[in-house]
Symmetry: C2
Subunit: 406 residues, 2 copies
């Protein structure tokens, strides 16, 4: 028996549920839980119809540690797959410790009132997980997640010294809406309105937010998607990679944004709609970005008409010991419409949910094990890389001779 | 004794209060009332400091007809100057009828739940005002208001047949904010998101809203401000002018909008922030455009740093009886910073508030009198035109040889 509890019934939760159901030999018993029972029931019904398999469902408030602990003690999963909101990470980790269950997530904890991406809060659980003899795996989505595995793979097999890493993340898809975000709009907008950072020569270097006219961007030529304007952005996996990849001299993260998307966000920021502090309105406290979220299309609803591809990967520059420097590019191309056909989700949810499922599979099989809190690149990449190819996220590793800014 | 009650303590209310205080011979006793007592007290203190004159102040909910009627019966003004919200027009007219007081406003009634500009609701009061022996003067701001007076003046003195009227409204000012509206944002945004109409050959012709890519616009060359993109827009004065100006074949209204303003409004419309229907949010009903209003700068706060000019006027084409056709352009140029120096308001408030004061002056002096509901162009324009020159809104009448679309 290999039991998992998936928490979260958004787009990613749906993908994890579908894929776990499809990998019956590794996931013999799956429960899907969320604050909103109707959402998990909808996903469970879809899964049953498409893959002929019944999932268990439960209603749980992931912020209510005693309630969640009770559910864990009753159901006794081996792993909790947390694909709820990042604000809930610590509460779910607390409940896992309380109930003695391994933990996995795809996005780092963020406090509700600060737009900040860092692992400090979760790394602080190191001793408690060690002492409890439990494993917490942080950031097992695509980026973070697969990008970290690519780094570990390159370090293990291709390069003795990895000097430069450029993570390049392209969504060349179209959802046909004037404006929508591809995952939780609140998280999405917090991400792109933050000050940008990259790491170079042992320190973090700040640059203007992508909405700033002085933001740093260039056209990267993505396989199958073509040249797309890609913006320098801070992304959480860099924080752990600079600790865990030997000899790293620079790491940067780039993400594509359309001019339309940037214009919309600039306006929303100008009028104050991206604010995360509460505003007085008719005697009530309203957080503008949360109200905006209520107005925007549900990211889960975008899949139906989504066309085009995502192309996410890493360009590495380094050398075999003493040898010449060379550059490698490892990437995956994922098609929105094909994802929807398979699991009724677009590729942004798919590329996050599949690696979460694979990460849990690694833990259930004992391929990835340990006591304490881990980032993905600290574990052996080989079987995870194999499963990517088998489970819908095939990767390519090619020599890279394209352009990257100095 | 000539007593007036001003209702409304926004930017326009402030201007009317200042200007009435400055015209002591015509306004011997002035009361300023609003839902928020602190606002009227702030204005009264400003007026006393700048013009050495004490105004009366009162707190009143203009939607509470009995409460307002009581105030009117106690204070016994000759005229109520309504510069509150357009939603409140009918309640204030009801109270005026109840208390036997003449009425004046600057903007037509609008229901809260329909973005619609028309006089039907207020014209329906015709018989009641007639029967009560009272006068209601509708739309005595700049446009409507001064533009209607310009039409009446041209019809009286310059042209026997007025065939074409083009009202051209330019705000070439700068408030230095990324985005703000110049008067109540809710009313402003309702206005520019509506379907456009103009009147030609005896019927209304619809065209796309200004936010539509197919909207109709051209560069009009404004005196002192230069050529500015001007968009075809429906504006309420056209509804009465087509009834009251003899021989009219076409009337259009054009207003300048910057590309920045249009981009902001397009985005806000795309994300649903201009919606006037309530949205469910955390169990509450929130009207997006009202929440947006709470986020945007208070239009009254823009005056301090406002620079540049407004240029509003009308181009007329017609003929003296049997003579040749010719074109005249009557306009006013108003400077934001000079307005602020005089009455601590920007020119958009100033150009609305001064004609409201002059309209009330016409009624107090008995120059404009009658029983029933009137639009401004139904009354004699001559003394009003004189007062514009004396009270800060001087006008020019010139031959026009510029470009207008066919």
């Amino acid at each position: 028996m290999s039991k998992v509890l998936i928490i979260g019934a958004g787009g990613v939760g749906g993908v994890v549920a579908h894929k776990a159901a499809m990998e019956k030999q590794h996931f013999s018993d799956v429960m899907l839980a969320s604050r909103t029972l109707s959402k998990v029931e909808t996903i469970a019904a879809e899964v049953e119809q498409m893959h002929g398999r019944k999932l268990r469902t439960a209603q749980v408030d992931a912020d209510d540690v005693p309630q969640l602990t009770k559910l864990l003690k009753e159901y006794k999963p081996q792993v909790v797959i947390n694909v709820a909101l990042p604000y809930q990470d610590l509460h779910i980790m607390d409940a896992c410790l309380e109930a003695g269950v391994d933990y996995l997530d795809t996005a780092n904890y963020e406090p509700l009132d600060v737009a900040k991406f860092e692992y400090s809060w979760q790394w602080a659980y190191q001793d408690r997980f060690k002492k409890a003899g439990r494993m917490a795996l942080l950031g097992s989505g695509f980026d973070p997640g697969v990008t970290n595995v690519f780094c570990a793979y390159v370090q293990k097999h291709l390069l003795d010294e990895v000097h430069y890493v450029d993570i390049v993340d392209c969504n060349a898809g179209s959802h046909g809406k004037a404006f929508a975000t591809n995952f939780n709009p609140e998280i999405n907008i917090r991400e792109v309105t933050q000050i940008v950072r990259h790491w170079e020569d042992g320190r973090w270097i700040e640059s203007p937010a992508i909405l700033d006219d002085a933001s740093i961007h260039f056209k990267f030529d993505y396989p199958q998607a073509g040249a797309k304007d890609s913006y320098l952005l801070f992304h959480e996996e860099m924080e752990s990679l600079v600790k865990n990849i030997r000899g790293l001299e620079r790491i940067r993260f780039w993400m594509t944004f359309s001019q339309n998307y940037i214009t919309h966000l600039k306006v929303l920021q100008n009028v104050g709609m991206t604010r995360i502090d509460p505003v007085d309105f008719n005697g009530q406290k309203i957080v503008p970005i949360q109200f905006l979220k209520a107005l925007l299309p549900d990211p889960g609803s975008l899949g139906h008409n989504y066309t085009g591809k995502t192309v996410i990967g890493c360009v590495f520059e380094g050398a075999k010991s003493g040898g010449e420097f060379f550059r490698k590019y490892i990437y995956n191309v994922c098609d929105h419409a094909e994802c929807y056909k398979e699991v009724e989700a677009q590729a942004v949810s798919y590329t996050t949910g599949v690696p979460a499922m694979i990460g849990a599979m690694m833990m259930l099989k004992g391929v990835w094990k340990g006591k304490g809190v881990f980032n993905v690149e600290e574990l052996d990449p080989d079987l995870f890389m194999d499963e990517l190819n088998k489970c819908g996220l095939p990767w390519q590793c090619v020599d890279f001779d394209g352009f990257l800014p100095e």
